[in-house]
Symmetry: C2
Subunit: 182 residues, 2 copies
């Protein structure tokens, strides 16, 4: 952030009166611009014993596998956003969404909220964002080609919980990878 | 938003190529500025059978009662933010935080995440944001003077669940009040 989105004057990093950390403050109109974490919403879409995975057709991590997920928009609930992103990335309609995992990813200022969901019918297709969309069994998950640590964690929790027969809501933190090859 | 925070040129509302809704797009550098929901984090701080309530010392709803809550910052987890806000607004230190309620408040672009928590010790004080901080029993909650619908809902769920002896995680939507006197 270099300029004030309200009046167009330059901003400077300074600690506002009564605050305890630097913010972008407009040198002309005085507006304080806060930076907030961004929410990503997504689904684990199930059909019988299998789940939908998408092969990313866009950067970052193009070519690797992921669950459908994307930025929550204003004007929609978390659950609506998760269903919308699933439809946009896989062509599939989901129902029976249930809040399942919340991940704080502090170092990239993101929060992931992942829902369990069922496909309304066994229909999906490649999309602009997904070069392939496949319904896949646990035994065939490409664990070494999952696009993001948060998606790998989501899949691990899901299959572990499925074996145990219960899906408790969980709040977890994803740490920065020390070794990018991990 | 009137100006591009990156280059300072005016922005215009237009639907970017491949998108499906209007965004603020810079007429000079082309940067697309997305607007995202903001996360508020807070606590229901308990000590024995009572909870802490704060009387708001700032607008909006100055003079009415609330639970400690505020905007999640970048650089902290959801849980850290809830504990920080509780300390800032009540002077109290909380421990054993447990994710409890998630509210989508679509019409104001906010998400509230409320945690159950215990006071580490029976210490609290008025603060810049709270003219009074009180440890209060369910029977003395000022139901007609609660600052926000989301806080009233949080309190209702909490006391109902306490009677039932279990606190399941819940995801709910808060609708715009049709009648402001509600």
């Amino acid at each position: 952030m270099n300029y004030c989105s309200h009046c167009g004057a330059p901003v400077a990093l300074q600690v506002p009166s009564g605050d305890d950390r630097p913010r972008h403050v407009c040198e002309s109109c005085g507006m304080i611009h806060y930076r907030n974490p961004i929410i990503v919403v997504g689904c684990i879409p199930q059909w019988e014993q299998r789940i939908l995975l998408c092969r990313r057709n866009i950067e970052p991590q193009r070519g690797l596998w992921t669950l459908p997920a994307g930025y929550l928009e204003t004007g929609e609930t978390t659950m609506e956003g998760a269903a919308r992103e699933t439809h946009e990335e896989t062509g599939a309609c989901v129902t029976d969404l249930s809040a399942y995992l919340h991940f704080d990813i502090v170092h990239i200022h993101q929060i992931y909220m992942m829902f369990r969901a069922r496909l309304s019918r066994p229909e999906w297709n490649p999309t602009e964002e997904s070069s392939e969309v496949v319904l896949i069994d646990e035994s065939r998950i490409p664990w070494n080609d999952i696009a993001f640590p948060v998606i790998k964690e989501t899949l691990k929790f899901f299959f572990d919980d499925r074996r145990k027969g219960s899906f408790p809501f969980r709040l977890r933190r994803i740490h920065r990878r020390m070794n990018p090859a991990e």
